[in-house]
Amino acid sequence: MLDKIGIAKRIAQELENGTYVNLGIGIPTLVANLVPEGMNVEFQSENGILGMGPFPTDADVDADLINAGKQTITALPGAVYFDSAASFAMIRGRHVQLTVLGAMEVSQQGDIANWKIPGRLVKGMGGAMDLVASAENIVVAMMHTNKHGESKLLSSCSLPLTGVACVKRIVTNLAVLDVKDGVFHLVERAPGVSVQDIQAATAGDLVVPAEVPEMQI
């Protein structure tokens, strides 16, 4: 079974050289620190920067330079700042090739729910609805089950949706799964996790091929 860093490491393998990538808050943010050697990708943060760098040293902290999680960051050489309308033109206009984000639920149709739990406080969707409506490739990073042990991979989402038929791939603490033709397809299993474990933790329909390789982390 993977921890959050393990999930981020597996997601880092999804990065393609020469692409622009938007990382959501939480596990996806960890991916920025795990870019494979020799891989050149540029991170977009929707509040208005391309070429986001690591956290600053104490001396370099700048209140005017933050990421979408409102954390202080740095800008790499070649970075550019832009306004919010231009930022979402990049996203909606499909200039950002990969979006990685967290989820509360994903359905086998590729629907995603990650912004609202009825009866509980609603904080808002931020940029998530724009991101999932437009990125060419959407990878979800999440735990396979919620804190009550219930599956987050469902035949249909029970929570209010963030987007429909948009998720292509899911990386969890147990497995890598693809969403295709209205079902989940098991692609890889995490180290030490059996196909049965994954089947037991997946509420939606799951297609299991004859051979399920273990993730190479």
Binding site: A32, N33, S45, E46, N47, G48, I49, G53, P54, F55, P56, T57, D58, A59, V61, D62, A63, D64, L65, I66, N67, A68, G69, K70, Q71, T72, I73, T74, A75, Y81, F82, D83, S84, A85, S87, F88, I91, R92, D111, L121, V122, K123, G124, M125, G126, G127, A128, M129, D130, A133, S134, P160, L161, T162, G163, V164, A165
Partner: protein, 239 residues
């Protein structure tokens, strides 16, 4: 000759903002918010405001100051997570809240300032945000109709500005400010440094002064940080 948009101070800049008006405020989190003008609105006690801003500040800074004094009737935002008083007022029904996808919020402001009354976007299709909105397919993909946003006053914060109202923002403090600057019937710009015309490079200006009616240099800026994240000085790759 360049028009002069300067006003003496924040009091003069905020004159005319009255009860019940709609006010747009730039910023993302606490980054790039017009903190001097927000302080002035808190001082005047103007109330029943509809505020359009990506976020709602924190309890004791940004729009949180106006929430604490119940000056906001309705909040139009994309994310409002960092404010306990906001949660309390929202749950008790004292505060009306309209949550909008962040890209749609930015584009609605941009459209409002650009004379585009509405536009189709894929964001939010199939979600509760789409309820009651016209859906149309383009290239086989469904889109929803979103309308433009304008405001009685737009208040933006820039790093530098000149007396003609031309503005330059710093780093990610730009965010919603340029789009909102275009969408106010009166746009107020507060700047950290106000310079005479001719000092800014015309090719480097982000917001042309035509969109700005009033400009002043803020007396002081706290520029508060919401999430201070640092890497150890000895290890640059960490982060």
């Amino acid at each position: 000759m360049a028009l002069d948009k300067t006003v003496r101070d924040v009091q003069a800049a905020c004159r005319g903002i009255e009860d019940g008006m709609t006010v747009m405020l730039g910023g993302f989190g606490l980054c790039g918010i017009p903190e001097c003008s927000i302080g002035e609105l808190a001082r005047t006690g103007v109330k029943d405001l509809t505020c359009i801003s990506n976020n709602a500040g924190v309890d004791d800074f940004g729009l949180g100051l106006l929430l604490k004094t119940r000056q906001i009737k309705k909040m139009i935002a994309s994310y409002v997570g960092e404010n306990d008083e906001f949660e309390r007022q929202m749950l008790s029904g004292e505060l009306d809240v309209d949550l909008i996808p962040q890209g749609s919020l930015a584009e609605r402001c941009r459209a409002g300032g650009a004379g585009i009354p509405a536009f189709f976007t894929p964001a939010g299709y199939g979600t509760e945000i789409a309820e009651g909105k016209e859906v149309r397919e383009f290239d086989g993909k469904p889109h929803i109709l979103e309308s433009a946003l304008t405001a009685d006053f737009a208040i933006v914060k820039a790093w530098k500005g000149d007396t003609a109202g031309n503005l330059i923002y710093k780093a990610t403090a730009r965010n919603f400010n340029p789009a909102m600057a275009t969408a106010g019937r009166i746009t107020i710009a507060e700047v950290e440094e106000l310079v005479p015309v001719g000092e800014l490079d015309p090719g480097q200006i982000h917001t042309p002064g035509i969109f700005v009616q009033r400009i002043f240099q803020g007396a002081q800026y706290e520029r508060r940080i919401e999430q201070r994240t640092v890497a150890p000085a000895s290890n640059e790759s960490k982060g």
